[in-house]
């Protein structure tokens, strides 16, 4: 150790303070891991129970629901796949999510650009219209009457029509587009670009990250929707996986190994997607939430 350093009284106190902190830091690290592990158990527990149950036979589950599986019976998956119309539910869900998200973004993107760049008069009122959405009454009942009067009850088109708006997505897009430098607009105008060309060639590529985030957010919402599927669809051929699962639960209510296999199979694609797209997904939930 440098003797000049230790001779300096200020440096010496800093030194002791640092070692003292290091020791205390170790203690807080241990406590942090302990707390994280407790939380992790609460989160992993229910999911492990699901996996374990899916691998059990029905008598095995009845005898002791908690015990680890001894049989590793994979038949549950095949049986659940056979007994329910899962491939169809999956195709339906993917179709609803894909169409609704595409149409929604196609409509929301030019709207957001016009608000963010103040290209339309009353842009601030327009913006406010989307802000207040959070507080408004549940639209469920008049929406139902509307679809009923359009004769679209229990149709796939009617169901998709319910998912073509998402005010939070517009707020996220507006916030993001505002950060794109105005100079790019001027450069495009100087080159004689028209509005459409400007939208597609200049703004669209630069807004891609926000569009991806909003798309994922919206698609997850459609994917997980249960209530609207309950209300609007009675034809089993139109069911998305959420409604399909609930119907399946109603029929095989107490056969938990079978049910668990079904839940796992339908959750699996979401979990895999989540692992790949985590950054965008979590970004979507925090975007626009910290305006300051």
């Amino acid at each position: 150790m440098n003797p000049a350093m230790t001779a300096d009284p200020l440096a010496a106190t800093a030194e002791t303070a640092r070692t003292r902190r290091r020791r205390r830091l170790d203690w807080t690290t241990v406590a942090s891991y302990a707390l994280l592990l407790v939380l992790a158990v609460i989160y992993v527990g229910p999911m492990l129970m699901l996996v374990n149950t899916a691998l059990k036979t029905t008598p095995e589950f009845a005898k002791d629901p908690v015990a680890l599986t001894a049989t590793f019976s994979i038949e549950n998956f095949a049986e659940a796949w056979d007994k329910a119309d899962f491939p169809r539910y999956l195709v339906n869900t993917v179709m609803y999510a894909a169409i609704a998200t595409t149409v929604y973004l196609a409509a929301a993107f030019p709207l957001s650009v016009a608000i963010a760049r103040r290209f339309v008069r009353g842009w601030n009122w327009l913006y406010l219209l989307f802000v207040i959405a959070l507080f408004l009454p549940i639209a469920l009942i008049p929406q139902f009457q509307l679809i009923l009067n359009l004769h679209l009850y229990n149709t796939q088109v009617g169901y998709i029509l319910l998912f073509l708006t998402n005010p939070i997505g517009v707020l996220i897009l507006v916030g993001y587009i505002r950060t794109i430098p105005r100079e790019l607009d001027e450069a495009a105008a100087l080159e004689g670009s028209g509005y459409l060309r400007y939208l597609v060639r200049i703004v669209l590529p630069l807004t891609k990250p926000a569009l991806a985030t909003v798309a994922i957010l919206h698609a997850i919402g459609v994917w997980n929707e249960l209530v609207l599927a309950n209300i609007y669809l009675t034809n089993q051929a139109y069911f998305p996986i959420t409604r399909g699962l609930i119907v399946f639960t109603g029929i095989y209510g107490n056969d938990w190994p079978l049910l668990s296999a079904a839940v796992l199979m339908l959750a699996a694609p979401m979990v895999v997607l989540y692992l790949f797209l985590q950054r965008y997904i979590i970004g979507g939930f925090t975007a626009g939430s910290l305006r300051g």
Binding site: M49, V66, Y104, A114, F135, I138, L196, M270
Partner: protein
Amino acid sequence: MTYLFGRGAARAWPYGLVLPGLLLYLVFALLPSLATVVYSLTDTNGLTPAPLNFIGLANYQEFLFRGAAAGENLEALMRTVLFCFLVTTIQFVVGLLAALLLNQKLVGTRWFRALFFLPVILGVTIQGLVWRLFLYPLDGPVDSVLELFGVESELLGGSGLGAFLWVTVVQIWSNMGITMVIFLAGLQTIPDELHEAARIDGASRRQSFWNVTWPLLTPAVTTNLILSIIGSLQAWQLFLVLINYRPGTQVLGYVVYAQAFGQTSGSTTSNSFRQGYGAAAAVVLFVVVFIVGVTAQYLLRRREERLLG
């Protein structure tokens, strides 16, 4: 800002392209939302389109004052507020704690974060089914643990209050991840140098938290509280998946759905598809959301001004 892409007819482009998004929003979201008030004044009923028949405030009168059902409705209202209070406070504390833990340089923080957020993307159906299994009343995991402590509970099948509290637990488990990632985003905006400076000034960890972290976390605090308060007042889907419609457990949002779409059972008058009556319930819920939401917004803004100037 000036429009740079031509004059005359070319000026119409942005207006024209705003229309699809605006119309979709108006027709399928905003106007239906406002029309709830109109429907609450009618006796609209059932699955066949019919002209509106106005009956004044009769739906409200029935919802709030008539018979045993009115008592149940008021209880549902109180339960909604209780649900909101429990979910908001517990989720806030746990979410903040998780964020603070994960904002340190520890091993595996990415995995912990991914795990705690996972339920959010699985949605209510899977959240509910996973917990129906976890709360399996005949020697399931939670039941077994409770038995170790000598507690006999029927969990979701038990008394109204017990079942209600278990739904509260699942609601918090499901959405804590959102609170956590918003706090994490807030924490990441706080420069390390500030904590370093506080430390050099001799601040303890606790002092550093209350004097540096907490005030600078204000925007995240506001966002989280508003989102949880409004979200939990309107949340009810987990009740549907976990316990179905049972008197003594339901919250207002569920009453709206159950009355308007014929899912009622028990002692509630069960004319299926009472849309007008359900709309009145929706307006009552809106009033609660509005009062609580606006009050919270006002108090949080004042707090922000005090803390951030």
